[in-house]
Symmetry: D2
Subunit: 250 residues, 4 copies
């Protein structure tokens, strides 16, 4: 996809996002969008395109650091709750409580018991959110092993991405299979009807961003919605089910 | 019950409470105790006896005021979550999220739909807490109509209780039946096996306090526990079930 | 002083405190009361008598624990600021930012540079509070070495005070002189005209509590103020100046 | 300035910003950067260029909304304090406590007494921050009346900027002189040696962004600092003094 074409399409989608935000502010809607995915999958990038022209006073991006000692001794979800959107707000989570089903599981930052408990209880948590009329999306950005290796390599030499290099990254590649397994278990156990997983094939960043925004907008209502713009590509967007798990990168 | 006898028994129970607190701090336990009940039922009083000799750095009493505009537009449970105990802490709620099943329902501060939703979802919320190993108690202080009237009257002339007179109090008596009905519905729908209601007959304040503390301590473990002290009176403490609802004041 | 007499006088003072609180709520006043003093000086006890009959929804006691890692790396005053009273609230600090001038200095929990900076800057901080119309009191409970030793000893055998025994306590006595020196420097450098120190001789707990409340009430206005009740004892209450420092216990 | 040239220069400056951030994280520095300026002056835009490639887990942009009822009744600075950077963090304020010296003053959202008090006390507040080793910048983006009118007009037709149109904006132009007067008083009274104002002429957005970043970087230290890149233009950057006030737009 050419850059010019991409920019033009992105522009029109961002105009739609602004319309949607105007609407959600007027209606006091709470909107929560989670982005998960392996290292380098493009979470930062897609969130930036979502938020680029939104009112910064009414949208937030949440990227929590390592839990503090007190947080470690608290109810697992407690530190996430104050970050949830209030009425009229849209909040994007760059990683979320699903850390426990991914990096924490794979890196042994949590016990097997904690991991199991999380998978059992997260549905209760999300049901509470959704039943309170929160608009709630769970996106998983999926990349191939080859593309991840390419990006990790380029990250090492890109002077703008020095801070993205962490010891955890370094292991992302050697732990590829462990992450795959954890992801598949997460999809199987937390793909709730009221809060389904949506996978975005992200080897092509431009397609991932455009289709992610299209999917999102196609699922919400707002005045001035232009449905023609919102036809997403079913080879990029996978609505999770037992069949589609197989279409994720392994 | 004579004052001297009461003081002596209370003293021994408070020594047990201190032992329990020492234990919960060492073990990083999270302990959450909710007190509900009609106006004048004695919530302030029993909480004061619980906390009187506890380490103030490791225990808290939470009595939230009216929700702010932003809180009104947020997920109902959101403002309660930061108040929950972290590891090593014991927190007492003087009224709680059950406001929605009581005063908010009766005074029409919430819509019928919000009330219904609360009763449906509160179990999910409490299951999350309990499954995170939070020690969780729900006490309902029950008083008779006659006793409430006596206390409201005495409140009016007691110079130490001036601030307790609110417009909502004034209606407590005329709305007696509406509160009874709301309470019964709450008991029926939110008496979960993992988070049951315990009713304390509270017309006699001294008995209520002593038995409440005994019941609480009898259900937790700690070194130096003196079971002989913790035999509570089954005419004061009612573990809720469809039979015991009838034994509450109507 | 006999217990009966004490209880009677305390009762009348607490009625006055309730009147004052009613007034401060109506007028949206912010009231902040700091209690400092050596271990066992009676901070918990006097605060309990202040708050015993106040509306718990409009008063708070703040006793912060050890700072977290993030707090240690932040502006020193930052963690105290969210605890300050908002309009209509009265807040009691059981120890405060003056930790840095006392226990942190003596126990070497801060650097000499941090201690010096604190003494230089705390006036700016308090001036901000006072000029925002916050009603602000700084009480120092003063006890003699002998009385402290007596209390530390009795604390060891009192089953209700087990949690009060900390390693820092144990050193309170052997570090008596270091604490005296730190206190005197604090008095000399932070006794601001807009935020003066008031010392309460506290070897006699009952006198300390009654006189502390009297002094406090004598300095604020409210309807129904009974000045006759508020005559405090100038041998118990010392308004700090270079002369009165000598009258503190050494 | 051509777009290509601008992008190239911006790229090199952002690489420097990343180097600086790496350094501040390692050294646990606290960095606070305030942006003030009239409506449409370009605050959002310059902040986006500062933050574009920074680690989102270690930088934050703060744009507080209207104060809540409780905040209105609290110490004015209280709601800003939790937003201040902790160690290892860089925080950008899109508008700040200086609201009181600008929009609140002009729109009569505060009393003249509150405005006067703010100007008297803000120095105490900032001295506390700076003396705690916080790295602190105060930028004022200055635009001409003509340029503001042009931007307000274009904002009305730009579909990406619909949410930026507020009733306060509408008055920005007719209240031009009142804002000028308020700004000049702010400069005169709050241009502290320890926290000086730096004006950025912003009619040309590209020059404003590049020079703002250059000025910022020229004033901080970090490994790999390339001074040649950081030579800023003294016709764009005005370090405030009584002479330079005249060079601001009137």
């Amino acid at each position: 996809m050419k850059k010019k074409e991409y920019n033009k399409e992105l522009y029109h989608l961002q105009v739609q996002l602004v319309k949607f935000q105007k609407h959600l502010i007027e209606k006091d809607k709470k909107v929560c969008v989670i982005f998960e995915g392996r290292d380098t999958a493009g979470k930062d990038g897609i969130i930036k395109r979502f938020t680029e022209h939104l009112s910064s006073r009414d949208s937030r991006t949440v990227a929590l650091g390592v839990p503090s000692d007190i947080e470690k001794k608290s109810w697992y979800f407690q530190r996430y709750v104050p970050q949830l959107p209030h009425g009229g707000e849209i909040v994007f989570f760059n990683r979320s409580w699903y850390n426990r089903a991914g990096v924490e599981k794979v890196m042994h930052f949590c016990t097997p018991k904690q991991h199991k408990l999380f998978l059992e209880e997260v549905g209760n948590f999300e049901h509470l959110l959704v039943s309170s009329d929160m608009v709630f999306f769970k996106f998983y950005l999926d990349i191939s092993k080859k593309e991840q290796e390419r990006r990790l390599k380029s990250r090492k030499v890109d002077p703008l991405k020095q801070w993205k290099l962490s010891p955890i990254d370094q292991k992302a590649s050697s732990l590829w299979d462990a992450y795959t397994e954890a992801r598949n278990e997460m999809f199987l156990k937390t793909n709730f009807a009221f809060a389904p997983w949506v996978v975005i094939h992200s080897d092509d960043k431009k397609e991932a961003r455009l289709n992610g925004i299209k999917y999102f907008l196609s699922k919400v209502d707002y005045p001035g919605k232009d449905d023609k713009l919102l036809v997403f590509d079913n080879d990029v967007i996978l609505q999770m089910d037992s069949e589609n798990i197989k279409r994720c990168y392994h």
